[in-house]
């Protein structure tokens, strides 16, 4: 049996043209997918039962016991942290936000350690963006800045930009120019018409130089900016202004390097400036398939895209204070629920040490680096393969993820709802 048009639950590209071949409720093969998505669809090995640490040893337990223990941990906590969310669907995230509100938790997502600075910049200067199809159909200039789509979003160029069929583009290979900006000659740089190599930490300066040039002030730009020759910048500024439709895509190369949100702000302001001359858009290359969905869900429910603290009885947002790394660094949380992410593999050592020191529960189908920090792990259905629901693509387009495999594992949403129910029962019973 073949199921077509399956959205891929890996990255923010959310390619929805995947064909999956099935036999007897097992995936035999996947078509149209990149290597990253392919690996996820075909992955084996998962945790079969809930596990708990008892006397320093992992013990298999029932779902009931694991949920009971999780509810007890969260009920007893004074400063609970609910973290992760980007690898699950909106329907589960909604339950998480309600849970956070009910127990006065701090809720944050993987956004906090990736495009958090992009959101701060957007909150200062806005975001001139568009859906990916607008780029596909119109853009004659595509700029990848501080990101490497070939490795991280392998089908981005073929589906949405450089190699995609475009309504107003006769020949997608010759009629689109590609500029890559990076600190090293990445794979993406090899297909670029123009590669700008910036000295590490120099993005802000180069963006400022381009802004000056677009405003007609070449005279204030020195001969070399962060290792980039003025002639090249002039060439690039001219390409930008001559484009009919230019699209900038940026990644963690500017959000998490020196300058952080100031880099993104500068890039956005360059794009806003270019709109006075021609059409330009800018978009973040989002990572997890539904990292943007959590930002959307938390925003419509609480008013902010990430890092919301419910402990005061209102929604309180103050990045730098209510962001997960800062919170853990201050050793504030006394309990932690991790879902649909793997902070154990990505967070700084000091923060992980604190997670290991407090009762931490993980909801995840697989054993991962975070498992080592936990007291309890509850395995669930794999979202987007064994569980359906809503995900938001990196450009904000919502797509319904499919359930293509039957499973006995409960979904994220079901587990979260059971935890909420159990917490209410404990509260009622005192």
């Amino acid at each position: 049996m073949e199921i077509r048009d399956v959205p891929c639950p890996f990255c923010g590209c959310l390619c929805d043209d995947i064909s999956v071949r099935l036999d007897d409720n097992r995936i035999l093969g996947v078509e149209n997918c990149c290597t990253l998505g392919n690996a996820k669809f075909l992955s084996k090995g998962r945790l079969q039962h809930p596990i708990m640490r008892k006397n320093g040893k992992w013990v298999e337990v029932s779902y009931e016991e694991a949920i009971d223990e999780t509810a007890r941990i969260l009920s007893d906590a004074v400063r609970p942290l609910l973290y992760g969310w980007s690898g699950t669907v909106g329907e589960a995230q909604v339950v998480g936000v309600h849970l956070g509100e009910e127990i006065g938790a701090l809720i944050d997502s993987t956004t906090s350690v990736c495009h958090n600075p992009s959101i701060l910049a957007i909150q200062e200067v806005g975001h001139p963006g568009c859906t990916l199809g607008q780029v596909k159909n119109r853009a004659d200039l595509v700029i990848y800045w501080g990101c490497n789509p070939i490795e991280a979003h392998p089908r981005h160029m073929s589906r949405y930009t450089t190699y995609a069929d475009g309504y107003f583009i006769d020949n997608t290979v010759t009629d689109r120019k590609v500029i890559v900006v990076d600190i090293r000659r990445s794979e993406g740089a090899k297909v670029a018409d123009e590669f700008i190599q910036i000295k590490p930490g120099g993005d802000y300066l180069v963006l400022s130089a381009l802004r000056a040039m677009v405003r007609g002030r070449d005279d204030v730009v020195p001969d070399s900016v962060a290792g980039v020759k003025k002639e090249q910048l002039q060439r690039v500024a001219s390409l930008m202004q001559k484009a009919k439709f230019g699209a900038v895509f940026f990644g963690l190369g500017i959000t998490m390097s020196r300058g952080k949100y100031k880099n993104v702000r500068n890039a956005i302001e360059l794009v806003s400036e270019l709109n006075r001359k021609t059409k330009f858009t800018i978009s973040a290359m989002r990572g997890h398939f539904n990292v943007y969905g959590f930002n959307e869900v938390l925003t419509w429910m609480a008013g902010y895209p990430f890092a919301v603290d419910f402990s005061r009885g209102i929604a309180f947002y103050n990045p730098g204070e209510t962001t997960v790394i800062d919170l853990l660094e201050r050793k504030e949380p006394d309990a932690c629920l991790v879902i649909a992410s793997d902070p154990g593999a990505h967070f700084p050592k000091s923060t992980i040490e604190h997670m290991a020191a407090i009762p931490t529960v993980q909801i995840d189908p697989c054993v991962n680096a975070t498992t080592a920090l936990c007291q309890v792990q509850i395995p669930v259905a794999i979202t987007g393969i064994e569980a359906a629901g809503t995900a938001y693509r990196m450009d904000g387009v919502p797509i319904r993820m499919k359930k293509i495999i039957e499973t006995n594992f409960p979904t994220d949403q079901e587990i979260l709802e059971r935890i909420v129910t159990r917490i209410r029962e404990m509260k009622r019973d005192g």
């Binding site: 309504y167 107003f168 806003s272 209102i314 919502p398």
Partner: protein
């Protein structure tokens, strides 16, 4: 079934021809009935003003751009925080409240039905997700077609039937309610950073003018027998001298529907400007209102501006960019492939600003100059002109010349030379306010047959009871009491249940989403049309099979099936 008996209600129900009668209203289940049994819960209305539940025929509360307005504006979120209380969830936001914030605050004002003004079809799932979390009001989505390539191509070929078939497929797929055109042609031109100046200018990428799109959509709308008319945001919003464009647009509209208007023109305040630039900017409410008076086939809403901070958001991307160049504050833009655009910027309408003062006057003038209140409905184009929580103040301004004069004395002193407002003595009465806030909306939207907008047996039990005794208040002088009375209902009843009591939501609620499904013959079913499928598969970035909004997003819903002339 649960029963409620409202005793001693002072009812104004314009659709049923009731203008101020003390009566009882019986409710059984979700409907108003002839009489209730002995078991009914009795609510003594004490002679308070009792109206059908408020209907906002043009508001932005749910979907991609509304949520982005929140996302980019932590300052606005902080300006409207409330704590969890009883069944009420935490809310944030002043001009763009969170979904629960919208729902609770609208309910406190007596509103039971909201029409989201602009839903991009590609992102419709998002709008429906937010509807679910706006539980105290029924939801309808105006669906954007201004730059829909399939429809534009059909119109280019002169094939109105095909355009209608594409509209039918899309509305059914995205669970939309009506055809919305926002700056038709302009949003498509904005795809390459351009705009359209008025109805007779050719669009750069299609062999069409806005006039072609508007006329074509109106005819297609009637071929599909949709409940509502075409809902139009005219070209050239916000520019000095645009009133000629507005009147030119109204001239295009045939009178082809017996039950309602053939065109609904929204936020007309923003389209009634005179002058050749900001220097001689002035009100042209008089010619626009006169045009409406002579055009029974047109209904407008005010788009009133009120002073203070708000957030502007519209599918009209090029207009928002122009506004950004005036205000130099933050600017967001979000074009939607093959369909439309959008933009957002925060603004602060200031009394000390002459242009803002004139805009404030124009909205009021339209409401006072248009003779028939059924043709000019009360809106702020929430939150563009002001957040909806300003509605009570607008009602008071329309009912009191004294209040208008008092306000007028505080705005930019040169306003007097640019607007006719000081010369207008008309003061609207309670009945006219009831028309402009619910009955007129129900008729214009074509939803009276669904039980909306009136209080007779058979109607949905959507009722607002305001702590206002009309015989004890002189609205011309006691405008503060009018504001207070309309700001907080004594009871708001939705589908037969009390949902809001003195400003607080008292139950979780569960709303209904209304959507249309025109019955299209197989030959016009776009699902199997090769050319339509090819356009979709080549140029959209979402597969056609993944595009329609699935049943899972509808929850409680009501499908309005229509017979068509295709």
């Amino acid at each position: 079934m649960a029963e409620i008996l409202l005793k001693n209600a002072y009812v104004i129900d314009p659709i049923s021809g009731i203008n101020g009668e003390l009566m009882d209203i019986a409710i059984s289940g979700s409907r108003i009935v002839e009489e209730a049994s002995q078991k009914a819960e009795v609510i003594d209305c004490q002679g308070y003003l009792t109206l059908p539940g408020g209907i906002d025929s043009h508001t932005h509360t749910s979907g991609t751009k509304v949520n982005f307005g929140r996302y980019m504006s932590p300052e606005d979120m902080r300006a409207g925080r409330t704590a969890r209380r009883g069944p009420m969830h935490i809310t944030s936001g002043y001009s763009v409240p969170t979904t629960y914030g919208n729902s609770y605050r609208y309910s406190a004002l007596g509103y039971t039905t909201l029409i989201e003004g602009a839903m991009a079809p590609l992102e419709a799932r998002h709008t429906h997700e937010e509807f679910k979390f706006t539980p105290l009001q029924d939801s309808f989505a105006n669906t954007l077609f201004d730059g829909n390539w399939g429809m534009l191509r059909a119109l280019e070929e002169g094939d109105i039937t095909r355009a209608a078939a594409i509209i039918a497929w899309t509305l059914t797929a995205v669970k939309g309610f009506a055809i919305k055109l926002t700056n038709p042609g302009g949003t498509e031109a904005w795809g390459f950073g351009k705009n359209i100046s008025c109805i007779n200018e050719k669009i750069p990428t299609f062999d069409l003018t806005p006039a072609d799109i508007i006329k074509g959509a109106i005819r297609a709308n009637e071929m599909l027998h949709l409940p509502h008319s075409v809902h139009l945001h005219c070209n050239n919003l916000g520019t000095p001298g645009n009133y000629t464009c507005t009147i030119g647009t109204f001239d295009l509209v045939p009178d082809i529907n017996d039950k309602r208007q053939s065109l609904y023109a929204t936020h007309v305040q923003f389209h009634s400007y005179g002058g050749s630039g900001w220097g001689d900017f002035c009100s042209k409410s008089e010619p626009v209102a006169r045009k409406v008076d002579f055009s029974p086939q047109i209904v407008i809403d005010m788009g009133q501006v009120m002073f203070g901070r708000t957030t502007t958001m519209t599918a009209d991307g090029p207009m928002e960019f122009n506004l950004y160049r005036l205000h130099h504050d933050k600017w967001s833009n979000h074009d939607v492939e093959l369909e439309t655009g959008s933009g957002i910027i925060p603004v602060n309408y200031r009394k000390k600003n002459l242009v803002n003062s004139i805009m404030w006057a124009i909205g009021l003038e339209l409401a006072l100059l248009v003779k028939n209140p059924w043709q000019c409905l009360l809106t702020t184009d929430n939150p563009n002109g002001a957040p909806f929580v300003k509605y009570p103040e607008i009602i008071a301004l329309l009912m009191s010349k004294q209040y208008r004069d008092a306000e007028f004395a505080t705005i930019h002193p040169d306003t007097e030379k640019r607007v006719p407002l000081p010369a207008l003595d008309r003061e609207l009465n309670w009945h006219e306010i009831a028309v402009m806030t619910r009955a007129g909306q129900a008729r214009a939207l074509g939803i009276i047959d669904l039980g909306k907008g009136y209080l007779m047996p058979g109607a949905e039990a959507d009722i607002a009871i305001y702590p206002i005794k009309t015989d004890e208040i002189d609205p011309s002088a006691e405008y503060e009491k009018v504001i207070a009375g309309f700001s907080r209902t004594e009871y708001t009843i939705k589908r037969g249940r009390v949902v809001s009591r003195r400003g607080d939501a008292i139950i979780d609620g569960e709303n209904t989403t209304y959507w249309v499904k025109p019955k299209v013959p197989a030959v016009y079913d776009m699902q199997h049309d090769p050319a339509f499928i090819e356009l979709f598969e080549r140029y959209y970035t979402v597969r056609m099979s993944n595009y329609p909004v699935q049943e899972e997003y509808l929850h409680r819903n009501y499908c309005i099936e229509t017979e068509t002339d295709l």
